[in-house]
Symmetry: C2
Subunit: 250 residues, 2 copies
DNA sequence: CCATCGGATTTGGTATACAAGCGTCAATCG
DNA sequence: CGATTGACGCTTGTATACCAAATCCGATGG
């Protein structure tokens, strides 16, 4: 270490600051290009959330690379991406391992998420437009429809959509980004929650209240609803989660 | 794309979940081993916050690699890390560029940070121990000493320490991690704020109030102080920041 | 049964090669 | 004269080979 430092490095090859010329163009519809590492990361992400790769599974670079048809280089970069999301753990010289969430980790995650949700609600009430409210209202009703006909997958999808919209309505790109990152982390847990009828009813009712609060632009109230809403979800998840800790009781 | 997919992938080389055997050992004082990409990332981070690499600067892989004495592979992984922190921007086929924060980005960052600070305060009041309070109190007094003798660098350092302690006292590892990440992002801005005497006095006073609120374990009050405290900081930063937008008014 | 040792395996990092994308600049065309 | 096109060089994206160091695992011996 410390090979080439302590050098002034006043000026070298890097071109000086310059204006972004991409935005000067006609803002063409970007062909949604993506890099291989992101693609790999997305695949692995999916494999993890679908339970194809269980918590604690060790990810062998070569084998996984062969399996996915990519070389080690982009695969390693994909690992960094996933590690940044907190989905895998990178231990020096020991490689990557699918992260094993302790009960405390789950609690922590939901605690932060509930805080972010509350923040979203607060800000959303300040910035939301009538159109956005209308859309959120519509999605909520669709969601309640799913609830009425016991369509759990549909309910999940719309539920997610509603919360995303509220988050977007907050008008803070960073908040949206952080929210998305944390969501990816706990998304796999969501599916595992056992939803008894009572809890589900309650959750649905709360969504009605959310819309009311949003309509009234009552940030404090919306924040409070969102927070407790998510914390209940946390309990449901914890109930359903078979203790993953090595020490078992049976 | 789509080379080796659609394959069942029921079972392959990856070893099944297993218990972490490292923790079984005597929990030896980890020699704090680190990987090259993290080291590189840290260096670049520093170069960015110190203003050695200006916003918008394009990062050439080969040149920068030679300059830092590393090959492209770990450098590219370092780029991913920095991109995850939001310090650089990675555009496919166009490489890395030091991120250029718009005024809105700064506003967004501080808004989220203020929310996280508030969350920290709220939780800290629930979990903080007497020892932690004592330490935070002590640090605050040291900080006020720096304020009294106009020692701005010392003030910054201790200020940072106080806020870190409060965050830690919240007892939520994820919160600490997210907080740290966002802090890295805006740290470079902090230095640029123009601190007139009045604002500085006010900030110092608020720190006294923070300690009071913490002592009384008044989470709501502490949260509120922290939030407004940081939002003021945001204003100070925005005042001091020469508009970086391409379009200038002079 | 536990600790230790040694070889096989894996990761971390470097170097090299090459295809494809991007930027530039000049020649060409309208 | 201005805009478009095309060729060239540079940079990034990915693959591959290679090696050192660390880890893992099984065998051996106390």
């Amino acid at each position: 270490m410390g090979k080439g430092f302590g050098i002034p490095m006043s000026e070298f090859d890097e071109t000086s600051p310059r204006v972004d010329r991409a935005s000067a163009k006609t803002a063409a519809a970007a062909p949604e290009r993506t890099t291989l590492p992101s693609t790999i990361a997305e695949q692995l992400r999916q494999m993890i959330t679908e339970g194809e790769l269980l918590a604690g599974t060790r990810l062998n670079e070569r084998t996984l690379g062969v399996r996915l048809g990519v070389s080690r280089t982009p695969l390693r970069e994909a690992f960094r991406l996933l590690a940044a999301d907190g989905l895998i753990e990178l231990t020096p010289n020991r490689g990557a391992q699918v992260v094993r969430l302790s009960e405390q980790d789950i609690r922590d995650s939901f605690e932060v998420m509930s805080g972010l949700e509350a923040m979203s609600g607060e800000l959303a009430c300040r910035h939301v437009t009538a159109d956005e409210i209308a859309e959120i209202k519509a999605l909520t009703f669709e969601m309640l429809a799913c609830h009425a006909r016991h369509d759990l997958p549909g309910y999940y999808r719309l539920n997610r959509a509603v919360h995303d919209r509220i988050n977007r309505a907050a008008g803070n790109r960073l908040l949206t980004q952080v929210y998305a990152t944390l969501n990816r982390r706990i998304q796999n847990l969501r599916f595992r929650s056992n939803f008894d009828r009572d809890k589900w009813n309650k959750a649905a009712r709360e969504h009605t209240e959310m819309v009311e609060a949003l309509d009234a632009r009552d940030g404090t109230r919306l924040a409070s609803i969102l927070r407790s809403h998510l914390l209940q979800k946390c309990d449901a998840v914890l109930d359903a989660t078979v203790p993953q800790t090595p020490a078992r009781a049976d």
